[in-house]
């Protein structure tokens, strides 16, 4: 039983990392220009907000679909 629990924890971690890879791929293209000696403050903010706005977009669409179905 503990083995199963540990396995589930690992699967959750794997899904999280898979999402991080997908977000980094997409937000890198949206936010980072020519790579410099460190991330510019603007680039870092853009990366953080890119994740949040993507999830907002997804939530907005799910909620609106529910609403359209209910009508």
């Amino acid at each position: 039983k503990e083995v199963l629990q540990a396995l589930e924890v690992e699967q959750t971690k794997a899904r999280f990392q898979q999402q991080v890879h997908a977000f980094t791929d997409m937000c890198w293209d949206k936010c980072v220009g020519t790579p410099g000696v460190k991330l510019a403050g603007k680039e870092e903010t853009c990366l953080m907000q890119c994740v949040d706005r993507f999830l907002d977009t997804s939530n907005f669409i799910v909620n609106r679909l529910e609403e359209l179905k209910r009508r």
Binding site: M26, C27, K30, C31, C46, Q49, C50, D52, R53, F54, D56, T57, S58, F60, I61, V62, R64, L65
Partner: protein, 74 residues
């Protein structure tokens, strides 16, 4: 239940494509929150994407039927 899984997979795929297209078109510079014009753009993208899905679906179905008809008549 096969049918339900299918319908779910289909809805999931549509959702993921719409999110991808709306985010690419509407959120050029991610800000501190979705603003009104971004939300309106997302809503329009959703509606047009679903229209496009229907147009493509009808068009593809018509093509398959034309091809099948052509095959039988030979």
């Amino acid at each position: 239940e096969v049918r339900m899984q299918l319908a779910q997979a289909n809805a999931q795929e549509l959702l993921s494509k719409m999110t991808e297209k709306a985010f690419a078109k509407c959120i050029t510079k991610p800000g501190a929150a979705l603003d009104g014009s971004e939300k309106s753009c997302i809503a329009k993208t959703m509606d047009r994407y679903m229209d496009a899905w229907n147009v493509v679906s009808r068009s593809y179905m018509a093509r398959l039927q034309r091809d099948q008809h052509a095959a039988h008549s030979h």
